[in-house]
């Protein structure tokens, strides 16, 4: 565990380094975004370039600021659930879970065992979808004409079919409820899921091979965009990006939320904290997720999926507050709720992993090439809906 803060005595140790440009010429100032092929949406970086080297980088946010927090304070608790789908629109089900968890903490609501298993299954499927498309996008950004992305989306479609047959929607599932899940999956659905999960290891190995044996991928990713563990912790970086820097912190293991303590799985850690480690950690996490899925699908108990005592109509929590968090595919996704006894929260706050992981973007990019900036940015794995909310 390298979480020590050994150089904290130095003033400004956690600030971005200062890069002095060579020569005397003018710096080329480029606004990368908000419309740029590889900013994953409408993100903007104001770069100052010395030749191709990045001397200054200022991220500009807000191009997709959709006022989730304000809407959360005006609509009822339940009506906010579909909005959480649209936060991180690649993994809507983990967002559902995080929000449901926060509300359940706020009101002290228990969840039936079967519902917990279903949540785990759906969350791990979502994690696979997210990681696979993240890797696909990486190689797309390296200029491989989208072939790996096609293969990632091929698996994604299989999983989305499962989501659709269970929840009725491909992307915006709106599935979890306070105290359980909306519908009970049929045995046929579970069988279909088992079949899809049985095909996943082959796909994961395919992606692992792609990263492990391609010299160009290795040459471009290894040693680029390094992040020190001390800085990663101090900057609040979470998720695969943190673990690639070698910090063992997985909220599934730390908080034991849901029924994660019943499953055997390991947390892969990287030693270098560069782009390559971030992607390899994701690939290895896909393997672990498949393991969790196999266990969960084997052990899933019967019973109700909704706590019969759960209140649905006229849901008014007592005054108080709660912060609930889960290990989303991108990092720690938290919801902070203050209730004043009304039917909508007094304060609704999303702790977005994507935004906070971007804190260190400048530190990682300075001194590298423009081409590296695209990859480093991609390796943070963000979704703009969550960054700007």
């Amino acid at each position: 565990m390298s979480g020590s803060l050994r150089d904290t005595n130095l003033e400004g140790w956690n600030r971005p380094p200062v890069i002095v440009p060579d020569g005397e010429g003018e710096l080329l100032e480029v606004a990368m975004g908000p419309h740029h092929p590889s900013t994953h949406g409408v993100f903007r970086m104001d770069l100052a370039l010395d030749g191709e080297r990045v001397v200054r980088l200022k991220p500009v946010f807000g191009y997709l600021h959709r006022n989730h927090e304000q809407i959360g304070e005006t609509v009822s608790y339940l009506a906010m659930m579909p909005y959480t789908d649209r936060l991180d629109y690649i993994c809507s089900l983990t967002n559902n879970w995080a929000y449901a968890l926060a509300v359940e903490k706020l009101v002290g609501q228990a969840v039936p065992e079967r519902a917990e298993y279903i949540r785990v299954i759906l969350a791990e499927l979502t994690r696979i979808v997210n990681h696979a498309s993240a890797i696909g996008f990486l190689i797309q950004e390296m200029g491989a004409s989208g072939t790996p992305l096609m293969y990632a989306f091929r698996e994604r479609e299989k999983i989305l079919d499962l989501f659709e047959s269970l929840t009725g929607s491909r992307m915006m599932c709106n599935y979890m409820r306070f105290g359980g899940c909306r519908v009970d999956p049929s045995a046929a659905w579970l069988d279909a899921t088992r079949k899809v999960v049985a095909g996943l290891p082959q796909f994961a190995h395919e992606f692992e091979n792609l990263l492990m044996s391609n010299e160009i991928v290795m040459a471009r990713c290894q040693g680029v965009g390094k992040l020190r563990p001390e800085l990663a912790i101090n900057a609040g970086v979470t998720g695969p990006m943190l673990r690639a820097s070698g910090v063992n912190y997985d909220i599934r293991k730390v908080d034991h939320y849901g029924v994660y303590d019943r499953f055997k799985f390991r947390v892969p850690l990287g030693d270098h904290g560069d782009i390559y480690d971030r992607y390899m950690v994701r690939v290895l996490e896909i393997h672990e997720s498949i393991g969790i899925l196999e266990q969960a699908l084997k052990e899933i108990p019967g019973g109700p999926v909704m706590d019969p005592k759960a209140k649905i109509r006229g849901f008014r929590p007592k005054p108080g507050e709660a912060y609930g968090r889960i290990e989303g595919p991108k990092g720690e996704l938290g919801f902070y709720l203050i209730s004043d006894g009304g039917n909508s929260p007094y304060r609704f706050r999303v702790r977005p992993p994507s935004l906070i992981n971007l804190t260190v973007l400048e530190d990682m990019c300075l001194g590298h090439n423009v081409a590296d900036v695209v990859l480093i940015f991609g390796s943070v794995d963000i979704v703009l809906g969550e960054v700007d909310r």
Binding site: H35, V42, Y63, R156, G385
Partner: protein, 202 residues
């Protein structure tokens, strides 16, 4: 064009009509979208180009990142007030003939985020939209349907007279005013020429 009219025109000059058909056929079958994603719908847009749905069948997989070379702008997602000037600017940068598909509820009207202070209530306030697709997000099939609708629309466009495409109309507006981000809101809040306030009689 209907058959009888075609024969009638053929007596006067069959050449014009064939040019029109050939031209529209060319435009229709080579609509290159701009590589431009805004929000959730962008993921479905990507899914549409992927193996299962394959937009490439219509000759439209050439996603050009530069607006100069693109024919179609798919507004795939929520347009915020911070982003709206950039969207209009991108539209201005596109070369004629250009088309716009408003994909999803947000692009049409602000969708579920309509009540938000930073959400533009429909991109058709500033630029003309050719096809609207409802849905949140629309399925890839819906985007394909919209695409085919657009193709039909292009095919049926006469090159002269009323209803001719904007780029063949010398008086039509070519550049659309880019809204300015003011102290409280966008200024102006809509382009009156494109989006007149609806008059509803009750």
């Amino acid at each position: 064009m209907e058959e009888g009219l075609k024969i009638e025109l053929g007596k006067q000059g069959v050449f014009v009509t064939t040019i029109e058909e050939l031209y529209n056929w060319g435009r229709k079958n080579s609509v290159w979208p701009m590589q431009f994603g805004l929000a959730c719908c962008a993921i479905e847009m990507i899914a549409t180009t992927m193996a299962r749905y394959d937009l490439a069948r219509f000759g439209a997989e050439v996603f050009r990142p530069s607006p100069r070379q693109a024919d179609l702008m798919i507004i795939s997602g929520t347009v915020t007030k911070k982003m709206a000037p950039q969207v209009v600017r991108l539209y201005n940068q596109m070369a004629e003939p250009r088309y716009v598909i408003a994909m999803g509820a947000c692009a049409i009207s602000g969708g579920p985020f309509k009540q938000g202070y930073n959400v533009l209530k429909g991109i058709d306030r500033y630029i003309p939209v050719d096809v609207h697709i409802p849905g949140c997000p629309p399925r890839p099939e819906a985007l394909l349907q919209a695409f085919m609708t657009l193709q039909k629309k292009i095919e049926e466009q006469p090159l002269t007279g009323e209803g001719r495409p904007r780029h063949l109309d010398a008086e039509a507006q070519g550049e659309f005013p880019v809204p300015v981000q003011g102290e409280h809101d966008l200024e102006p809040t809509s382009n009156k020429l494109v989006w007149p306030l609806p008059v509803v009689i009750r």
